[in-house]
Amino acid sequence: MEFIVKYWAYLLPVLIIQVVFQIIALVDLARRPREEIRGLSKPLWVVIIIIFEILGPVIYFIFGKKYDAGDKN
């Protein structure tokens, strides 16, 4: 805790980048019709995007959406 208080100015940008990316993913998820979401339900994707930190949105954008290229997805 003491550590975070001491260096918050350096850690903040890292956190901001991660949160901005998570917000972009969440907005994409919210705007996408349910039938275009792959694998999991929307609430589960919200959990994944949040708990996996920077990798959450990466996983969502790579695996979470149907129909990006064609029909058989």
Partner: protein, 303 residues
């Protein structure tokens, strides 16, 4: 010149002959229906014509170019796959923009608007991924004709559509008559009957017929008459000795179906006989063979 000509075109998959010794001839400017049951080799033929598959044997020429020499001929073709796939992240307009880009069109915006209007997707702002099957089919037609190619190759353009959509699509294809060559595959006889000038029938990978509808009707015309008289027995007795009558069978109570050698001769002779024998004529009908009769005959007899 022929728009499409193939010489002994064949495609084997392992030991299955998908297309065997195909000799297609499609003249320029006609609407050509490529008819056959599912799995007869229609899509394989189209894939060969588009260089999406390599022929095992034989050659094909499209608009005079040997298709194995160069793929430039593809720029003159508009192609609609049976199940069209698009980049689903695009809207219809963005997709047509991309197609116009790669087709080398200059100032395509007006044309794109026209096309969107034609297929009634001009108000559609959503991504293609959300489209219904019918909307995708319409977009597929738009992308095929966007750059105004002289030859259209359409794979089962009507199969996924409801009756209304089918009619619209057929009307659209028919409207190209004389301007473009249209080669389309179908398993629906009615489609061919409605709009085609020529027909090719493929059965188990082999072309069993390649002719104009007009010729077909002429050569397969059976010259059949249906008449109804008050004394059918008496008439049949008279007719059975005449050499221009090929076949004769009674129908219902007073009807007779007649097959004659020469229709015009029969049309002149029959009234004479009727008046001489004092028979009353109640009904007279010329029976034209339907395309269905002809097709069934061709397919069953293998020409």
């Amino acid at each position: 010149m022929l728009a499409i000509k193939t010489e002994g075109l064949s495609k084997y998959f392992n030991n299955k002959k998908a297309v065997e010794d195909l000799n297609l001839q499609v003249p320029e400017g006609v609407i050509f229906g490529y008819l056959g049951p599912n799995g007869a080799g229609k899509t394989t033929t189209i894939r060969l014509l588009l260089s999406l598959a390599k022929p095992t044997k034989g050659r094909a020429y499209i608009l005079g170019e040997n298709i194995s020499k160069s793929r430039n001929y593809l720029k003159k073709i508009g192609f609609l796959p049976e199940v069209p796939s698009f980049y689903n992240f695009f809207t219809a307009k963005e997709f047509l923009n991309f197609i116009s880009d790669i087709s080398g069109m200059v100032k395509p915006n007006k044309k794109i608007e026209e096309m969107l209007q034609l297929v009634e997707l001009n108000k559609e702002k959503k991504r293609i991924g959300t489209y219904s099957r019918g909307m995708k089919q319409r977009l597929g037609i738009a992308q095929a004709i966007l750059s105004d190619p002289p030859l259209l190759i359409l794979d089962e353009p009507t199969s996924a559509l409801d009756p209304e959509g089918r009619k619209e699509t057929l009307d659209l294809i028919a409207s190209f008559k004389g301007q473009k060559t249209v080669f389309f595959s179908t398993h629906i006889l009615g489609d061919v009957e409605k709009i085609c000038d020529m027909v090719g029938i493929i059965k188990e990978g082999r072309l069993v017929l390649n002719d104009s509808i007009e010729n077909l009707k002429k050569s397969h015309s059976k010259r059949t008459l249906f008449i109804e008289v008050d004394k059918p027995k008496k008439l049949m007795e008279t007719l059975q000795y005449l050499n221009w009558v090929e076949e004769m069978s009674p129908v219902n109570k007073n009807g007779i179906i007649l097959q004659v050698k020469d229709l015009q001769f029969a049309q002149k002779s029959l009234p004479e006989i009727l008046s001489k024998e004092n028979i009353l004529l109640n009904k007279w009908e010329l029976k034209e063979p339907t395309l269905e009769d002809i097709f069934l005959e061709v397919v069953h007899n293998g020409n």
